[in-house]
């Protein structure tokens, strides 16, 4: 309960720092709610992939949408909303990680708990668990490109534009992230062909 209260306070503090805007009409709140319902799961999963702890996911998700609500005027509708939301989630995840202890991942304890499984025997749920563990081992900048491209399937040029990095840098981060991800999976016992 204390952790929850503290986290909510942190969320409130973070969003209070956002510039305020005129209240929107009530009817527009219904539209906002629809946008929330359509994209909340995506944001929630993205935050987890970016290393936010499970117990902080709800607050971080809310934080992303409060930013969306307050900064919708800044959103360029010619670009995918989810790409923009991912950019917000990236910042929120960074703040959340700073507020909490470092994510424990792929240390000896985690690797020891992850019993090696044959490829054929790995269930989808177990695959998801291992993907998250392996993602936690990646450098944040590389991970962002990797998740946006190889999971969310956004094109690299759009990712580069969203992250404000050169396209070649984005490709380079993607290549390195895949190598790191494969190594992480191998450490977890999920054998990929070298």
């Amino acid at each position: 309960m204390m952790a929850r209260a503290g986290s909510e306070a942190a969320t409130a503090t973070a969003v209070a720092a956002e510039p305020t805007r005129a209240p929107v009409p009530k009817a527009s709140l219904a539209d906002f709610r629809a946008l929330f319902e359509q994209n909340a799961s995506y944001v929630h999963h993205s935050l987890r992939r970016l290393g936010v702890r499970a117990e902080d996911l709800d607050d971080a998700t809310q934080e992303v949408f409060v930013v969306l609500f307050r900064r919708l005027a800044d959103y360029d509708p010619s670009r995918p909303l989810r790409l923009w939301l991912f950019g917000v989630a990236l910042r929120v995840a960074s703040q959340a990680r700073r507020r909490t202890r470092p994510v424990e991942c792929l240390d000896d304890h985690a690797v020891a708990d992850a019993a090696p499984l044959a490829d054929e025997g790995l269930e989808r749920g177990e695959m998801r668990d291992r993907v998250l563990l392996a993602l936690d081992a990646l450098d944040v900048d590389r991970k962002a490109v990797f998740v946006m491209h190889d999971i969310d399937e956004f094109p690299v040029p759009a990712i580069a534009a969203q992250l404000e990095i050169p396209v070649n840098t984005a490709y380079s981060r993607l290549r390195l992230a895949r190598e790191d991800f494969r190594r992480a999976l191998l450490r977890l016992g999920k054998g990929s062909a070298p």
Partner: protein, 247 residues
Amino acid sequence: MSNEPLPDDLRVMLGAERERADLDAARLASLFERMTPLLGVPDGPPAPEPSPHIAQPEPGIALRLLQKYPVGSLLAALAIGASGGAAITHLAEAPPLAPSMPAPTVAAPSPMSAPALAQSAELPRVAASASITQPVPVQIPTVAPLSPSAARPDATGTRDADLAVERTLIERARSAMIRGNHQDALAATREHAQRFPSGRFAEERDFITLRALAASGDKARARAAADAFRKHHPQSLLLPGVDEVAP
């Protein structure tokens, strides 16, 4: 620099992660209610609005309809819905009605195509970005999250790409409504109607259209659009919202 294809073993792993289940409706509602005080809206949260086509296509509704109606009538309804959706969006193109004029009859299930509508529209454009007189483009717009799978020739890839484009257009309309930019909302719904007259978000599109018309002060066309909505989406969970906009 080009992008190398994702190796198959990683594709399987990441495919599993991509299939992660959505949050359930109760959790979404709880999250939204807890977030509302942070939005700074004086009147609190709005009345819950059903959004049957938001999360994903509704198998529940489909099953309900199949139980209630024979398949043949559903197929006919689909054909009517396609033309009806275009007709509702056509209302957004129509000139303002004179106060003494009755609302146009848009409910007739005439199988009007988008080009036919274009020829009948001698109207001021609500926005210049998407003219209905132009041929309907068939390529994926740059605003959609183009995916490697979208380039696959198989039907699943095409459906996924279409759904992504549909979602993007509806999100554009909704975000415009939130910003109070009703003309942009109408432009987005018009583009959706051109490209996906019977798309999976057609009902949501028509609802946004009539609300945008009402919010922009065009009560006559909003009423006509509401009448058309009732005619073409008689089972819609959005009908209470329609009645609120245009009783």
